[in-house]
Symmetry: C2
Subunit: 390 residues, 2 copies
């Protein structure tokens, strides 16, 4: 059944702005709040689509930028579209490529017309416009497409942020006009950096374009967590109650739990899978580093209360051994563990919201979950953002 | 049920020396001829034990050398033995470490007492003797253990090979005496380089020690295939008919099919899994290189007549994309394909032998299967052997 994805709000928590809903897509129903595993290049790293589904996920994120460069939109279209190409029959949200161009590729020239950029793979020159970003996503056949936006750096001065907002708004108008595919929803992205006022302005102007949904972009890029939460809360309060809100690139356990309280419906982040490959595994008490020698002889699973494939089959000692041997199985088992953890968390979160006990769920989780030291976190984040670009 | 693995010969092909049998172990019955996937460090690279079992394998090979260095025999013993440590409830054959010391680690001193060697991981100095090799394997708890041997280089002059044989024989005597574990079989290794006469001598002396089974070692190390097959045939003809024969480190599809005709029961080789990670995939027509650009748009599986997980779920184009992206999923899916192919081949081989049609099976397979060019193969082999040491 081919349909334009629709959002249906089911319930909201009486004490907060937390809410539960459903995205009805041609590729199944997706319950919200939902976390999307990142499969930029049509691969959720180390996992098969069957693994991802088995972990409880009904929707993933893929990236127009990555797929445009490799294997190319033409090939994917020729092979029957993105779902068929990668063997995933669940829903897919595609990012437009805007953020990736600014964060991954050497920029050549940015104009109102579009963006001239270089491939981070082979240095070749490419051009993307709002119309092309839409055309590519229509040809990929994702269930939800994103408008092309300009995401300024987190430390950009106000006038630069204003300039980017103005361009993002103009592009959003052009994307809205260009978009024709009837079985694909189109979301716009609210930018505005760390300026609450500009975010308000961005939200208001984009709402006037009547998009299917609204994303909050340009956050979790090096600012403090308190600042992130505050801006998410402000942005959500400005957005239409009956349309879905998607907080882009945010996905630590505590971020998901807290931002859901502001009314975020969709999350995506490479964090759970990326840190898994470095040996950082989620537990209800916080992250552990499975490569630490204290796990060398631990004949129990990583987490006693975890029922993921990894914890059901392997001891912490064996995982530690796999990481020491740098065997690829290590990265797969760690990815499975972290994605299972996030899905359990989001499932619990939905149940709590449905049952009217969101605040209690949040407080219990936050109290037990030992968060990464804020200063170390910001330092890591900056390092990672720098490395991405280089 | 804890039992000393026993070999039961079921049938032999009337026209050749090909045969079928069973290894009865405490961890299940293993039908022969059998191919053992290599899991040197208690990991069949990229796969879970469940994957390996699902591919039809009932026995794997692990390596005392690798496990001694990492995570250490103590840890594995403390965690309940090798089967439990790695979560594999099938049978395990452990190599003694002799071959790996000579091929992987900088040798410090070789004497009749044992071998002083350096770890290829951190350069630390270690000593192994026949008695220690047995003790380690008993503590690991493998189903079949191997005697410590000395494997001379393929181009060693006759006197060096004789010297190694003498030492291997003396060590085999000591291993036989040292071995106590009642639920573990012990096999000796016939060496002798490329000298048929020396192989005869080695076989005869080792047979007098009444081992549970006999391995043929030191082949497929850079000599021509014809030479390998000839020496395998000679070696097999010298070994006791009712005891299992294990051809070590040999495992290309054509090698397995041909050597089974000489009466080999057990094979192991890292080749199918190693070349998979380079994108070389087996088909009934020969190997293909899935990274080649001709697969970029192929919307069919790698092999139309293959029913492995990879071929059932993914197109050649998607696999090509995974390899281009260097995603770890590529290596896993390729490994699954190649191990499935080998198991299908060995299953067909057993059926043919049971049905008295081995020669026909061999001829049909060899006629269709395009073998790698012999000169290119030998060049690659030499390169690989050099790299292993460096």
């Amino acid at each position: 059944m081919s349909r334009r994805p629709e959002f249906r709000l089911l319930t909201s928590d009486p004490a907060t702005k937390a809410r539960c809903g459903e995205l009805l897509t041609s590729h199944g129903i997706v319950r919200t709040p939902v976390f999307l595993p990142v499969g930029s290049a049509a691969i959720v790293k180390t996992l098969t689509p069957e693994d991802v589904r088995g972990l409880g996920y009904d929707m993933i994120l893929a990236n127009t930028y990555h797929l445009y460069l490799r294997p190319g939109i033409d090939i994917i279209e020729k092979l029957g579209g993105l779902h068929r190409f990668m063997g995933w029959d669940g829903a897919i949200l595609t990012d437009s490529g805007g953020y990736q161009i600014f964060s991954l590729s050497p920029l050549v020239k940015l104009s109102d017309e579009g963006i001239l950029f270089r491939s981070h793979i082979d240095g070749s020159e490419h051009f993307i416009s709002p119309e092309l970003a839409i055309a590519y996503q229509e040809r990929l056949g994702s269930d939800i497409a994103m408008a092309l936006d300009q995401c300024p750096p987190i430390d950009a001065p106000r006038e630069k942020v204003e300039e980017a907002l103005e361009r993002t708004y103009n592009w959003a108008k052009r994307c809205r006009v260009a978009h024709k595919r009837s079985d694909q929803a189109l979301y716009a992205i609210v930018q505005g950096g760390l300026f609450a006022e500009l975010r308000r302005e961005a939200a208001e102007t984009l709402i006037s374009l009547d998009y299917d949904g609204y994303a909050i972009g340009g956050l979790s890029l090096g600012e403090s967590k308190d600042m992130t939460y505050e801006l998410v809360d402000i942005s959500c309060s400005l957005l239409p109650w009956l349309k879905p809100r998607y907080l882009m690139g945010v996905g630590s356990p505590e971020d998901i739990v807290i931002a859901a309280g502001s009314g975020v419906d969709i999350f995506d982040s490479a964090l759970p899978t990326r840190i898994a490959r470095n040996g950082a595994l989620f537990t209800n008490d916080g992250r552990i580093d499975i490569t630490a020698s204290r796990f060398k002889e631990i004949d129990r699973p990583v987490s006693d209360d975890c029922s993921c494939y990894t914890c059901r089959h392997f001891s912490a000692a064996y995982l530690n051994h796999l990481f020491k041997c740098r065997d690829l199985l290590a990265y797969r088992l760690a990815t499975i563990h972290n994605l299972f953890f996030i899905n359990q968390l989001v499932t619990g979160l939905r149940q709590a919201i449905m049952g009217g006990s969101y605040s209690q769920f949040r407080d219990t989780f936050i109290k037990r979950y030992h968060q990464t030291d804020e200063e170390a976190r910001l330092e890591n984040k900056r390092e990672w953002l720098k490395k991405q670009k280089g």
